[in-house]
């Protein structure tokens, strides 16, 4: 899409705001609607938009497969790890109250970590699924 300047400039203008909004949804989920799941999808949508306008090859360079795979598994690991950490601290699995001196503080920390993990995995999963689908297009053959 080299010949569509309005689309390209518009996209470049939009992407930072999409990423920012995703972060807001991620970290403001305690107070308003939102959370890791929605934030992950919105964060991924910025990369999907980039891939649609600038081509899948460029998007792949911005977000290499290795990083996607790392984030994909790291998210689940953070979630389960928070649970195990609660076990180590003397609580039950995923009982965040054990994570800090005060139960509510522990809950806050636990929810923060867990939502972060969810966001990470959802982001990586959505971009991976889109990239894999999009690269099946015979005109955009590229190795994953």
């Amino acid at each position: 899409m080299k010949e569509k300047p309005i689309l390209r400039v518009g996209t470049k203008f939009l992407i930072p705001f999409i990423l920012m909004f995703a972060l807001y949804v991620q970290f403001h989920g305690d107070f308003g609607p939102g959370g890791g799941f929605q934030a992950g999808v919105i964060f991924a949508s910025a990369f999907v938009l980039y891939a649609i306008v600038f081509g899948i090859a460029n998007a792949r360079r911005a977000l290499p497969a290795g990083i996607r795979r790392l984030l994909l598994s790291l998210g689940v690991l953070i979630y389960a790890g928070t649970g195990v950490l609660a076990l180590v601290e003397g609580g039950r699995f995923l009982d965040y109250s054990a994570l800090a001196a005060q139960p509510v503080l522990g809950q806050h920390l636990g929810i923060f970590l867990v939502e972060f993990g969810v966001g990470m995995t959802v982001f990586a999963a959505m971009t991976t699924i889109f990239f894999v689908f999009a690269s099946r297009d015979p005109s955009a053959r590229e190795q994953d």
Partner: protein
């Protein structure tokens, strides 16, 4: 007023669903199913389920539509003229649909305070979550803390889905024998 909005949006959803059935242009079908999801999200907002609406708008209207468009790059744009619609299929769908509608007659009225759903664990979450968990958004408390196991399972499902897609579709670097 809200009832009128409900009826208008539900009516538009029915129209979109019928159009998806009739149209042969797959691009239009993909766009219409995205619009259908967006209208569903609006309905959830009307039901005061903002978190669900948010997810529906992001996943149903956003990512799902993009994935369908991605699939469209691999297939022809027009649906093949198919077989004649079968009477048995019509009968099955009509029977299932009317059974489902019949079953809704047994459901408690919308917003009924005596409905079983409002007397299980929900009152406790509403009453104690601020002191026990903290976040003002009770949905977050339930999702991440009270139902932490569920959400861990969901995250694992998404993880598995991505792994599955990668294993099936990604052309990895093959090692030369």
């Amino acid at each position: 007023m809200i009832e009128l909005l409900d009826i208008v949006i539900l009516g538009m959803m029915v129209v979109a669903a019928l159009a998806v059935l009739w149209l042969r242009d797959l691009f239009a079908v993909a766009m219409l199913s995205g619009a259908y999801s967006l209208m569903g999200a609006t309905l959830y907002v009307l039901l005061d389920a903002v978190d669900v609406a948010f997810t529906e708008a992001a996943v149903g209207a956003g990512i799902a539509t993009v994935l369908m468009l991605g699939t469209l790059t691999l297939v022809p744009r027009q649906e093949k003229p198919g077989k004649k619609p079968s009477l048995a299929g019509l009968f099955t769908v009509a029977a299932t649909g009317s059974l489902l509608i019949w079953a809704t007659l047994d459901m408690p009225e919308y917003g009924d305070p005596d409905a079983p759903i409002h007397h299980h664990v929900a009152p406790r979450y509403m009453k104690d979550s601020a002191a026990e968990v903290g976040p003002p958004n009770v949905v977050t408390s339930v999702l991440a803390s009270y139902r932490g196991y569920d959400t861990l399972g969901e995250t694992t499902v998404i993880f598995t889905a991505a792994i599955g897609v990668m294993a099936l579709l990604a052309r990895g670097r093959r090692r030369k024998p």
